[in-house]
């Protein structure tokens, strides 16, 4: 009996020890990735990166056109996707609460949330690029906007649902129509939560590469025209990292470092905000 108990205790100790090791391994991978990014990307970080455009192989240059393109397309994507996402979430949480249609929409939205982003790129290619006849920044922004929608719908609905219904009832009791209640009472009350959702969406699309490959394409030069191909960090990183040129590879690491830092800071910010204002964001897969 005692031997059996000892055996069971040994098994427990081994299994729990292994679970600790698994955790260490997971953390080690994150540390390894960050360490590599810093050790290889930090060296190339200079003012040149923010003042000069992407160079030809072998000559010096920076990433400013790619950074500019990424900012423009990301913001445009947010401008397209976030309002639609918040409106749809408003329907799910306010007008359509409990409706059968809402259940279906919520389900489809969750599926879109995990859909491969490259497929979104193909979709926008056949819809926008083929219609316009050429690659363009606006096509890139639309594909990012499509990725923003499900992320915002999911977070915004969670946040709107947190607003106590007593607030809505008080507003209705004063004679306000639902739309006035929503825009003047519910939205302001959920403001920080909605902002958290938008931040998460921003973090999600900042590093997206696949949907830009054949929508925005890339541009070796400075271009601010929305109906022309536009440089962007992720595609430049992809192109430069897979090239045989040393200076291109070095710029790719610097770009990767910039993007990762930006996304990690955003994620931590969003997480802090949602800890303060809402449910934990582990509900957003």
């Amino acid at each position: 009996m005692t031997g059996n108990l000892r055996r069971r205790r040994v098994i427990a100790a081994i299994a729990l020890g292994a679970s600790g090791l698994a955790t260490l391994l997971g953390l080690a991978v994150l540390a390894a990735i960050l360490w590599t990014l810093f050790s290889r990307g930090l060296g190339g970080l200079s003012w040149q990166v923010f003042t000069q455009t992407t160079p030809a192989p072998g000559s010096s240059g920076g990433l400013i056109n790619a950074i500019y393109g990424s900012i423009v397309m990301t913001l445009l994507g947010l401008a397209i996707g976030a309002p639609i996402g918040i409106l749809a979430a408003t329907y799910l949480s306010e007008y359509g609460r409990g409706a059968r249609l809402s259940t279906v929409i919520r389900f489809i939205n969750d599926v879109l949330l995990s859909a491969p982003s490259i497929v979104i790129g193909l979709f926008v290619y056949t819809l926008v690029v083929l219609t316009m006849g050429h690659f363009s920044a606006i096509a890139g922004a639309i594909s990012l906007g499509i990725i923003v929608i499900p992320v915002t719908v999911r977070t915004a609905e969670d946040m709107l649902r947190l607003i106590p219904s007593s607030l809505r009832q008080a507003s209705a009791g004063l004679g306000a129509q639902p739309w006035r209640t929503i825009t003047s009472v519910v939205y302001p009350a959920a403001r920080s939560g909605l902002l958290t959702g938008v931040l998460l969406a921003l973090a999600r699309i900042s590093g997206e590469t696949a949907p830009l490959l054949f929508t925005a394409l890339n541009n070796q030069f400075w271009s601010a025209k929305l109906n022309q191909p536009m440089a962007n960090l992720p595609v430049v990183i992809f192109q430069f990292a897979t090239s045989p040129y040393k200076n291109w590879q070095s710029l790719a690491w610097t770009g990767a470092l910039l993007i990762t830092l930006f996304v990690l800071v955003l994620s931590i910010l969003a997480r802090l905000m949602s800890n303060l204002f809402g449910p934990d964001e582990s509900s957003i897969e």
């Binding site: 069971r8 427990a12 299994a15 729990l16 679970s19 600790g20 698994a22 955790t23 997971g26 991978v29 994150l30 990735i33 590599t36 990014l37 290889r40 309002p83 639609i84 996402g85 409106l87 749809a88 329907y91 007008y95 809402s102 389900f107 489809i108 939205n109 599926v111 879109l112 995990s114 859909a115 491969p116 982003s117 490259i118 497929v119 193909l122 979709f123 290619y125 499509i146 929608i149 499900p150 639902p178 739309w179 006035r180 900042s206 590093g207 997206e208 590469t209 696949a210 054949f214 990183i237 990292a241 897979t242 690491w253 990767a256 990762t260 990690l264 994620s267 931590i268 509900s283 897969e285």
Partner: protein, 321 residues
Amino acid sequence: MSAVTIPYKLQLRREARSEHLFRFMTMAAALLVLALLAGVLLALLYGGWPALKTFRFGFLTSTIWNPVTDQFGALAPLYGTVITSLLAMLLAVPLAFGIAIFLTETCPMWLRSPISTCIELLAAVPSIVFGIWGLFVLAPVLQHTVQPWLIDTLGDLPAIGKLFRGPPYGIGLLTAGFVLAVMVLPFITSVMREVFLATPRSLKEAAYGLGATQWEVIWDVVLPNARAGVVGGIMLGLGRALGETMAVTFVVGNAHRISGSLLAPGTTISASIANEFTEAVGRLYTSSLIALGLLLFVLTFIIIAAARLLLMRLEARGAHV
């Protein structure tokens, strides 16, 4: 104020009109979510139609991918997609299980939140960063240590030996599986953690009261109780792995062929599209790539929909997943 200057009835009518408009806008936005899904399907079907019409079912069964003779079959990328994703699951599921157990059972309270934040930050790292890291850091390590070891120890075994033969390229299906495993790890972990946390306290305490060790409580009480959620989380991770693009494109080797060895370069659906789409010349070539996209979309849709259905049913029972 306007209420004083505008007749009361007029204002009421205005409010009613705004109400209609706002309601219509939210409804339209919600329906747009449905339209998006339908739109993606239709667009891919339209774009892939020439290829599907030309090759019919042969598209799914042919391994030939030849832009010169305009012959395209999806079997090699489909094989690569499935193999790399399964490899990723094989590696990531036990790890995720371990981490979730650690975070819910053994970890000191004050460490739980920082560690789970770090694990979830892995999910925020952009896919392209995993790709560049996989190509320049992980692949050389695998090539010089792990792969030679696999070839030496497993390569001569009768049945599974075939999987571990050939030269260690560094890049290939195995490396892609490794990178994918790291990428889906946080998703699976977070679902498992949530469902483990949802185990009723009374069940665990009853088991402890009967003299069970901590591990026995986990294995015989927590895990069976969370079974549906665990399966849902794994399938969610699988859906991610199937569709992941950039990281795989860096490390899979991009060779359109099916070789028996896991060490050999291959390709996946998403990597083929990412690599070849902008360079594809000719209607049939482009169309075949879009048809590949359709195949990927349908595949992931089925997996993700099943996972979501499972998790939704749990959510209805009160677990916050």
